[in-house]
């Protein structure tokens, strides 16, 4: 197993006194949290536990600084949302915030100290072209004009190529589904829309239903392969699960909803790794039922090997000699899940050739 991480222990709720008594432990927490993009979440959790004033002054400074960044992120996403609503009002196109934006605007517990670099939205597939046109008219521009990448996104992916606002520089990902159409798992996006909540006092703005917020977070983390922020996303899931688990019928509802959306596999992984890495209090019976989504005993052992490394903070103090390989394998896996084998082979050959050509040009 990879080395123990002070950040994982902190998020699990099992270290407090050590931080106060030992500046070295505190500094290690700072370093791991900073590299996992979780420093502002640590700041909020420390404040909630009344721990902050008892920490070393230098640590307090870093926490204050990180909280300012998260608050700036939150202001920015709220502002972007207003601008989007204005842009899409002409076509009356409804849109649903996903991930970080949804946590903040939906006042979810996972908004605590959440930082993000882009805004993700979902629009109905049949309105996609119109959405893109209206966004371009309002200053969001495509930044990648490579013909292959354009085709890759438009025919195979569940999102448009990323857009960037000309003046504000903010990045926007426009999705029309939560899973690429070429992926092996299929999930009915209409059912996702059915449970979305309209945000109070807003005309076009939605956030996912409470269970879908969790399920989408799980899909993103365990199928998308962008693991640079893996632990941040796992911590989102942990907070969401801890918060909801106080109501009695929550777990049965979540399991049933995963069946409806055909997302048992990602939910299985989410519950497993939240429980294993962050001690999320998932009842044993729930873990049992969730194994319906398990890929099989041996596959799970293999996945444990990979995810227990790749979901640890991306920091030198948390790596063992397999960490780099594990991250790479999971990256390849995410592509494998996304496309059929022949298409994947073509895609990798194409990307490899382009990288080689680029390198040759730069030497």
């Amino acid at each position: 197993m990879p080395p123990e991480s002070i950040l994982l222990q902190f998020l699990s709720g099992s270290v407090e006194i050590e931080l106060i008594d030992d500046p070295a432990t505190c500094e290690l927490l700072l370093r791991q949290a900073r590299s996992a993009n979780l420093l502002s979440r640590v700041a909020v959790l420390c404040a909630e536990k009344n721990l902050t004033p008892r920490l070393p002054q230098r640590m307090q400074n870093h926490l204050q600084s990180a909280q300012a960044v998260a608050m700036a992120n939150h202001r920015s996403v709220k502002w972007e949302t207003k601008q989007l609503e204005r842009a899409l009002a002409i076509g009356k196109i409804p849109f649903c915030l996903l991930k970080g934006g949804a946590y903040v605007v939906g006042r979810s517990v996972a908004a605590k100290g959440r930082v993000f670099s882009d805004v993700d939205i979902l629009v109905p597939k049949e309105r996609l072209d119109e959405t893109e046109r209206l966004l371009i008219e309002s200053g969001w521009m495509c930044t990648n004009f490579d013909p292959y990448d354009q085709r890759y996104y438009r025919s195979w992916m569940h999102e448009l190529p990323p857009l960037q606002h000309l003046k504000r520089g903010t990045t926007l990902d426009v999705h029309h589904a939560i899973i690429p159409p070429t992926a092996r798992i299929k999930s009915d996006i209409d059912k996702f829309w059915e449970c979305a909540h309209k945000v109070a006092k807003r005309e076009l703005l939605y956030v996912p239903g409470d269970q879908d917020l969790i399920l989408h977070s799980a899909v993103h983390l365990f199928c998308d392969g962008e693991l640079e922020n893996g632990l941040r996303d796992l911590s989102d899931l942990d907070l969401l699960l801890r918060d909801s688990s106080v109501s009695d019928d929550f777990w049965s509802g979540l399991l049933a909803r995963a069946v409806v959306l055909n997302l048992q596999r990602p939910l299985f992984y989410a519950l497993r790794y939240c429980h294993v890495l962050l001690q999320t209090p998932v009842p044993v019976q729930v873990l049992d039922v969730a194994t319906q989504g398990s890929p099989g005993k041996w596959s799970v052992k293999w996945m444990d090997f990979l995810f227990c490394r790749a979901l640890a903070p991306d920091h030198i103090s948390c790596n063992d000699r397999w960490t780099g390989l594990a991250r790479w394998i999971l990256f390849v896996r995410s592509h494998w899940l996304r496309m059929p084998p022949l298409q994947l082979a073509q895609h990798l050959a194409r990307k490899g050739y382009k990288r080689w050509k680029k390198r040759k040009a730069s030497v």
């Binding site: 500046p23 070295a24 505190c26 500094e27 370093r31 900073r34 590299s35 070393p56 230098r58 640590m59 400074n61 870093h62 204050q64 600084s65 990180a66 300012a68 960044v69 608050m71 700036a72 202001r75 991306d314 920091h315 030198i316």
Partner: protein
């Protein structure tokens, strides 16, 4: 203990192994680098800085290393990293020390939002802190270097750190970055100016760093009270000309020169408003450094 009292071999050993811990203004840093350019730069310019003790909490761990592979021998390069994170593309290895300075600027500007940070040179005389915000080419560093060679205290040549809690200015005196003709101008202006290596062909042209005055480094722990904001502009062939600015327009101009005004939101506005209300604000065009010095000293 000061860096200058560390034996040469020990300095190099620390840089190679556990890292060299330094107190730099309100921050503690630890630097790792096997590169000779870096060790020599530190010896020339950081002698007056105190070392951290083994048990100190380190704010920022940074490293300057040669990238792996053939480039070690063929046109060698240097990579700056911040606790394993690499924010910039590699530079030619000869620029390693300059990259340390630039990298540290970046680290502070992005990770110290307990301060409102303004891109400015900051100096002090008779207990009055003067902030010289500067767009590139305004000559703020040249003016700053000249004044600190003549007895002003250096708080920073790059950034004003204004505490969001108290409004005081925290000094981070570090080597003063000089470019192109400014290097020779300052060498001619004062025999006290000690320059580090001159590096040609950087993205900013020819660059050298001037050693910060020892007194300023020794007074790093003393916060300053802001009293003056001057926007300098080097203008060839003109008598020094000081034009008073309204507080409102000074506020907007300072906000434009801030690294993190928008990160701090309402708090940033409050801190900046408080700062401006304590300061007299001017635009200042000058040519001769002597005349500039006289004009500014008359304000204090």
């Amino acid at each position: 203990m000061k860096l200058s009292s560390l034996p040469r071999a020990e300095l190099r050993r620390r840089l190679r192994q556990e890292g060299l811990g330094l107190n730099i203004g309100p921050f503690t840093i630890r630097l790792n680098s096997p590169l000779t350019v870096v060790a020599e730069g530190l010896e020339q310019l950081y002698g007056a800085f105190t070392l951290t003790s083994d048990t100190d909490f380190i704010d920022f761990r940074v490293a300057l290393n040669a990238p792996p592979g053939l480039r070690r021998w063929f046109r060698p390069q240097v990579i700056f990293s911040f606790d394993g994170f690499i924010p910039f593309k590699p530079l030619p290895q000869i620029q390693a020390f300059a990259m340390f300075e630039w990298g540290l600027n970046w680290v502070i500007a992005n990770n110290a939002h307990q301060y409102l940070i303004i891109h400015a040179a900051v100096i002090e005389r008779n207990g009055v802190v003067c902030i010289l915000p500067g767009t590139p080419g305004s000559g703020k560093s040249t003016l700053c270097a000249a004044l600190v060679c003549k007895g002003w205290r250096l708080l920073s040549d790059e950034m004003a750190l204004i505490s969001t809690a108290t409004g005081d200015i925290y000094p981070v005196p570090r080597p003063v970055s000089l470019k192109n003709q400014s290097i020779e101008i300052i060498q001619n202006y004062s025999s006290d100016a000690v320059m580090g290596e001159v590096v040609m062909d950087t993205a900013k042209g020819i660059v050298s760093h001037m050693r910060p005055p020892q007194m300023s480094v020794e007074q790093s722990a003393q916060q300053g009270a802001p009293g003056l904001i001057v926007f300098p502009k080097y203008t060839a062939g003109e008598e020094p000309c000081l034009v008073s600015l309204t507080r409102a327009s000074a506020l907007l101009k300072v906000a434009e020169n801030s690294f993190n005004y928008s990160v701090l939101g309402l708090q940033g506005f409050d801190v900046l408003g408080d700062l401006i209300s304590k300061c007299d604000c001017y635009e200042f065009s000058y040519q001769s450094l002597d005349a500039a010095k006289e004009t500014l000293e008359a304000l204090i």
